[in-house]
Symmetry: C2
Amino acid sequence: MPAENPVANVTLAVSTVIFALRPTPTSGRPTVWLPLVRRIREPHHGLWALPGGPLGSDEDLQTAAANTLDETTGLTPRYLEQLYAFGDVDRSPGARVVSIVYWALVGAEEAADAVVTENVRWFEADDLPKLAFDHNRIVEYALWRLRNKLEYSHIAHAFLGDTFTLADLRGVHEAVLGKQLDPANFRRQVEASGQVVPTQQLQTGGRHRPARLYRYNCQLDPVDNGPLFAR
Amino acid sequence: MPAENPVANVTLAVSTVIFALRPTPTSGRPTVWLPLVRRIREPHHGLWALPGGPLGSDEDLQTAAANTLDETTGLTPRYLEQLYAFGDVDRSPGARVVSIVYWALVGAEEAADAVVTENVRWFEADDLPKLAFDHNRIVEYALWRLRNKLEYSHIAHAFLGDTFTLADLRGVHEAVLGKQLDPANFRRQVEASGQVVPTQQLQTGGRHRPARLYRYNCQLDPVDNGPLFAR
């Protein structure tokens, strides 16, 4: 049996789920948002879809994903990782398309500066319309991966500046998990994990008393993705 | 920017890393092995490669991986999961090939019954020759995933029968991790994890005194892969 045989009738796309935290218009509370692109051709003309496109013959997969992100939003991701390859036989009407999907995180300030065009709009990840192809399922899986990874990695860092208060960090966890967390419990868990270390600086100028600024513990890798990504 | 545009000049393959525990000839101690296929054409004619092949137009990705496994070894996997999509521009001489790679676990008894043909041979995963394409790197990553997943999932189950002694389970961990573990510490950790539960049966007939048989705790999912794989 030959290995690595090419096949002509299966085509390959790269798409990217781009997450940022943005305030919900009604409550002002931050939640997870992502930009989608309106389809301007069949199939699924008029529906919203994940940004993506053809894999250029001189682009590796991650470069293609980063280029998609740049073209859609003008943004450079703080975090970019391969999510999964989706290849169900019937996922694209009239063609056999396999999509290799990446997911990206961008910071809140960058997201606020994102380019917005007529056919690009940001949506709340937990409140999407019916999307093109199997893209609702893909976003659902990407959200699961984000929430799961929040628990055991430094991924919240991508949503924060270099220093932050524990209230800022808790705000990211609350926004991603979609629920409020007890401040005292959260502080205990974070301090016990050793993932963040206090700096000598205080955050001042707010309505509250000055709060200690923290930074991530640089001696821990943000995410352990194994030998493929060793620095 | 169009989403999901097909591209003609990138071709797609599905390959599978198939792990089983087999005794090392020298010591008799079990280690991790995998079957490889000798390439019978260019590029890399004569080198060993992961079993794989073209994605049939009516196969989804996982079916293609399972078919590869069946064709190469005659085996049905106890566990099969998507590992990663490899798409570096220069990974296949003279062509642009993206490989979506799965990894599979098969039980020791099944592995002993595997079909062996002239161009299929089992190799020790930690002692491979130079393989075709980037397949050494792929195996290294799959081994990392296996070892990582052993720590936080039920994955050892795929190497065991329905019931097993704690010594059997420790043997799997030792084989996968490539090091000996302290029996008393191992027992404490496994019992504290709640992953296995004792049965009323004892294993008899060996040289040692009868040992308690255990089974996995069916109330825990073997691996939490999220909403894509919910039962």
